[in-house]
Symmetry: C2
DNA sequence: CTTTTTCTGTAGCATATTCTACACATTCAT
DNA sequence: ATGAATGTGTAGAATATGCTACAGAAAAAG
């Protein structure tokens, strides 16, 4: 089970969005809030130890890349929510979201199309 | 924004499921894993300080009851996931869940009925 | 080659989270 | 009334999380 702390997720989001390798200064530039170089490198060190990123030396600097996929992390978090609130039922989770969140008619039609694509698999 | 730690959520789940007031020994009896009385009471103390539960003295013992509703906590967690993975879009979150989780035809029909009920609100 | 800049690595600190240990208070049976 | 059982409160410890500070190595500029 993937267990990312809030600080680690912030870094992973930047890496996921970019896709490829990034140097710490590049990550810092796209970071959603001001973060000091040393604080960012601390999170990268943890992510490296946990195996969620890899790095490659280029000259004196390192370039980091996400290893743990975004979708796998998403599924892990979704499963945790399903466990907590719906005894592990993904359908229960989705049902509650549809009931709770106000969706536009267009969004509902879009979701129905996606569901039809999955039917019968 | 509701911020419950994993340990706090474990306790809230028991209180939510039961509904009414519970003494620590009652909570302990329904707890999904062995937990010492003192450890449980520590979590209850934190939940009390944060205002997520109330308690009422009966004789020498206290009875605890959930204040923060289950659904509000759920919405808070769902919003966090939508923020992290879909820029805050609840529809994006639901769409990804439908794509990712294998649902039976029955479950999909059930979801469509729920969605129809929400249409046009 | 020397100085400056940039990046890394390590150590240390502050807070949060979770649990344990022990002393004290209240109730109940005798 | 007195001892046992049960419940409470506080203190302390272990780990996790997030950040800062500083020394040293590699690269760049003069």
């Amino acid at each position: 089970m993937i267990n990312l702390t809030p600080g680690e997720i912030e870094v992973m989001r930047v890496l996921w969005e970019h896709g490829g390798e990034m140097s710490p200064p590049e990550i810092e530039a796209r970071f959603p809030r001001p973060i000091k170089n040393a604080a960012l490198r601390f999170q990268l060190k943890i992510l490296l130890e946990k195996g969620h990123v890899t790095r490659r030396r280029v000259g004196k600097a390192y370039f980091y890349k996400a290893v743990t996929p975004r979708q796998r992390t998403f599924k892990s978090m979704a499963r945790r929510m399903a466990d907590i609130f719906f005894g592990g039922s993904a359908a229960g989770l989705i049902a509650e979201l549809i009931k709770t969140e106000k969706l536009s008619d267009d969004e509902i039609r879009e979701l129905e199309n996606i569901a039809k694509g999955n039917t019968g698999q």
